[in-house]
Amino acid sequence: MARAAVLGRLTWQVATVAAVREETATARTIVLDLPGWPGHQAGQHVDVRLTAPDGYSAQRSYSIASPPGGAPGGAAGAATLELTVQRLADGEVSPYLADVLEPGDPLELRGPIGGWFVWNPTSGGPVLLVAGGSGVVPLMAMIRTRAVSGSHAPFRLVYSVREPGTALYAGELADLATADAGLDVTYVYTRTTPPGWPTPAGRISAGILTAGQAARPDLAVFVCGPTGFVETAADLLVDAGYQPSAIKTERFGPSGGQQ
């Protein structure tokens, strides 16, 4: 008869910035302390709200980058979560988060939000992750969750970026992929390739996405990034015979998104 408590309605909470970490020239990770954080699943996001002294407020959504149970390397059960923010030159919120916010500042947020674009270690089947630019953030949460949980689910990340140096988490992805044969990372460079890259710069293709393999019936696909990228990738997969119902997408919007 007893049931777990029903989720309360979503309310705003105040987190404190514990640390910031530059990821690339245009992106940084914000580490947040939030006692009472209920935990989250990989793929979920938070809404962040900024308020000016006259009451004007702006709100944006940001995917949670850290795995459940705290940031990588953090104490188990620590009440922290991490957001990775890409600075958009004409954004209203992202320049504030990327440049102005500093350790000790409060940040109002609510979450975790979303139950559909999530991956749990209880799913043992193979997973294809397709990321366009900053769309890699929720997928990185999934990869980190897989690592800390010890899951052996085969993971393949196809990560499309403009040029080397704009890819997020490059070092960490390389380390994880080296240590675990079950994680495969493939980069697609759309504008400039690294020296010695075997293929010219170009957009994702069906061949790269499928790696020549038909979809296994238990394959889960997550695609995240700017709207145009997500639609292209999803269309390529469906044309290659992948089941639309197996493909979950998270579009950031035409600007590539987080503003």
Partner: protein
């Protein structure tokens, strides 16, 4: 109100312009839409004004373009709080389209390709207050801003300026449109900040 974020001012600032309450000035032209942009073929485009008794009048694109039109400069106020001042349009006045039409209707419902509707008193379409606009800033009106032609009623919030306008029904009884039936104010005067029901 949430906690104040140190050092955050936000994008908007109105300067000295006189704006309706709660609005801020923008220099770009935001695109808001409730659905996919309709792609309307000029060959099949038709504008129809239906009276409450049944008779209607309509124009195809050629006939519409042949009507007298005006160049106007107006301010736009969107209920999502942005305002854009001094926008230039070319269009046909509703006074021209309604000229000589027999009606005792007091209300109007504008209908768009794609299904959008918005209602307003017929009196607010008359007397130089409303146009069917087909050109913005000396260019053909782009689909994302309502092209080939949209209703333009600048004295009300911009949701009343139905994009991709297809027709106007003249009605004896008011018929709340797409947003008016879900919380948005039935009239929508920006100067009285009539955004939502009960405002």
């Amino acid at each position: 109100m949430g906690i104040v974020s140190r050092g955050f001012g936000g994008r908007r600032r109105g300067g000295d312009e006189k704006l309706p309450p709660g609005q801020y000035l923008v220099t770009d032209f935001p695109v808001l839409s409730a659905g996919p942009t309709p792609r309307v073929n000029l060959d099949s485009w038709e504008l129809r004004i239906r009276t409450e008794t049944g008779p209607s009048r309509s124009w195809d694109w050629a006939a519409f373009q042949a009507l007298p039109h005006e160049d106007i400069t107006v301010d736009l106020h969107c209920v999502t709080k942005w305002s854009k001042l001094g926008t230039t349009w070319r269009g046909v006045s509703l006074d021209t389209l309604l000229d000589g039409l027999e009606t005792t209707a007091e209300f109007a419902l504008a209908r768009s390709y794609g299904g959008y509707t918005t209602n307003l008193p017929l009196a607010d379409l008359r007397d130089g207050q409303a146009w069917i606009a087909f050109s913005y800033g000396s260019e053909d009106l782009e689909p994302e801003h309502g092209g080939p032609a949209r209703l333009l009623v600048p004295h009300l919030y911009l949701w009343k300026s139905a994009k991709w306008v297809q027709g106007i029904d003249l009605l004896q009884a008011d018929n709340p449109g797409f947003w008016e039936s879900l919380g948005y104010h039935n009239y929508g005067d920006p100067w009285r900040e009539q955004r939502y029901w009960g405002d």
